[in-house]
Amino acid sequence: MLKIDKLNVYYGGIHALDDVSVEVNTGEIVTIIGANGAGKSTLLRTISGLVRATSGKVSFESRDIKRMSPHQVVESGIVHAPEGRRVFSELTVDQNLRLGAYLRKDREQMDEDLARVFQLFPRLEERRWQIAGTLSGGEQQMLCIGRALMSRPKLLLLDEPSMGLAPVLVQEIYREIEEIRKHTTILLVEQNAYQALKTADRGYVLETGRIVMEAPCRELLRNPEVKKAYLGK
């Protein structure tokens, strides 16, 4: 579905992604784990067109998307729930969700999706008319994911959904991710490697811009190096 081949990204002199190749197949959850500053967010930002790659290929459903601008990437069926939630803080929950459905034309389907998002995150329905900036961190994360789902993506890019959340909330968010995967392919980026590896099918390990390992998550969870570096055991 998504195929990234030998991608290189620079920020001025910083080589943020070095020959990165990643593949995501339809129906999978694939995770990329790595320390702070490894280049995880950069990879997602490059896929969604916010950052330009110097070389390499990014194709989605056999279409080259590397030169597309962000709104064209969304149109092609990829949506990115960015790191740090980035909800529109002065708008209501309802307005945030409507903006998530910006490219959708069909009103009826949109109402259906709104209902689905509210079913997934009942707390968003309770807070529907509240200003997004006044939500708690967990609720903002739900809004960020819910808003992304409103575009009915084929592929959802999730950047650190557990960041800054209490353990109970992390559990809750991950239960919802399990629910979302029934309809949507997911590329999940996490520093919280344990949660991500427990949830995903396949995983990549990113270290200072390079992919150093790729394996099914079951194997990564047992791998001594991964255990030592990312699982604190």
Binding site: P70, V87, F88
Partner: protein, 293 residues
Amino acid sequence: MQQFLQQLWNGLAIGSVYALVAVGYTLVFGVLKFINFAHGSVLTVGAYIALYSVLRNWLPFPLAFGLSMSLSGVFSYLTEMYAYRPLREKGAPKLNLLITSIGVSLLVENSIVVFVSPDFHPFPRVLPSAPITMAGMRIPPVDLLLVAVGLVLMCSLSYFVNRTLAGLTIKAVALDRDAAALMGINTSKTISLTFFLAGIMASAAGVLIGMRFSVNPYLGGFFGLKSFAAAVVGGIGSVPGAYLGGYLIGMLETFGAAYISSNYKDAIAFVLLVFVLLYKPSGLLGKGTQEKV
């Protein structure tokens, strides 16, 4: 009392002009985080389009007014497209945008002096000039039009920005441009739309102020600067703030001129600006963001 009401009305009329122009500074600042000093020149262009359409008998006044608003909207859109966008795409610093906008405004002002005329033109008489007497106030018909058109445009703009999806994209881009792009919003289009709307509002003010005083190449510079003060007083980036700032400066100016001295009239806006910046740097309705001009 009579005198007070009369001044209140005058303040409302001139305040409408400031508010209509101020909202353009605020909208553009919202999406691009820079002060478009060429915004005043859109007002001048609008006044000239209406003036010539009526003077040459091309169009009846209401159509000339409409034409002026749409063409000025397009003019404002084109300034962004050809002057600011190329700079933004090259990642130029905000200061370069600012200086470019000052350049655009000088270019427009001087082009009018050279290619059109340096004179002050009275606007042809399209409205009756005899004031209407209402509750003891004497109101020139143009003021009535100013207040009414101002209210209609301002309410429409607020409705558009807060209640329609296309309008919400302006707010979304202002709040977080990258996040807006991730929603599938074409942010360049939203920025174009913002300039277009700012142009429409400014041109309405330009035509009406041209009718009230005269049409001249310096119209935009003069009213633009005070409206900029109004936008900052209200809180740059806030639409209701721009309206509030506009009416407030309009009122203070007329009351200041009537009860203190008309010599200080043009200084009042800037005295208020200094006071507001001292006590509430983000403006009366502004959010406390620390964005440098």
